[in-house]
């Protein structure tokens, strides 16, 4: 199912809470060729980068840790952080965190790393 422009506003945290599995991003809205995705995470992801695009993270609940080459950044609820294109990063959370991510349609969660942490793309909720 795709719904280019939801007729009703989207409650991001509520949408995230509907996702059955952690680390499984779901699209909730689109803006031009960009997608808004929500995801529940806990523990550590894998190091990866997106050479073709910046990637925005907005925290809904919990605390997001983004490991970067120069050390970690902690992102609290209501805070936004943009990982620049090409910069290696690893998302992590002690306890569950709910996030919104914004990036161009077609970007994989593992960048060019691949592997079994790669999530299905373009799934809506």
């Amino acid at each position: 199912m795709t719904q280019q422009h939801p007729a009703q506003p989207v409650n991001l945290a509520q949408k995230a809470s509907l996702i059955s599995e952690q680390w499984s991003p779901r699209v909730v809205a689109e803006m031009n060729d960009y997608q808004f995705k929500v995801v529940r995470i806990e523990g550590e992801f894998i190091w990866h980068s997106h050479p073709e695009t910046d990637e925005a993270f907005f925290v809904l609940e919990g605390t997001l840790r983004i490991d970067l080459p120069d050390g970690p950044v902690y992102v609290a609820p209501g805070e936004l952080y943009v990982v620049p294109r090409g910069i290696e990063h690893r998302t992590a959370a002690e306890g569950e965190a709910k996030l919104m991510m914004i990036e161009p349609r077609g970007i994989l969660n593992t960048g060019h790393e691949g592997g079994d942490r790669t999530a299905m793309n373009d799934l809506w909720i």
Copy 2:
């Protein structure tokens, strides 16, 4: 001042509260050629459209009313709404609302309407 990639996370509501005037969007971060802006609004804006781009609104505090050709949509804190490109719309709020907007760099708040409600573009906070 421009700062392509803030080294620290940006607290959106806190940034919005620093803006001295209502209806004066300020850029807080960029993602590729898109800008994240925060704004404080109260009362009604003017009807306008952006023929070249969708426009995303995320509510931080208060309630945003978006008047659309088919009637108003009310957007609460934590909710996201995307106005499709080319659709006439008018933002409004009874009492103050704090918002984040996301759109390509260079988009004017009044679209192609112009007039004295047009805000300076590309101002950071």
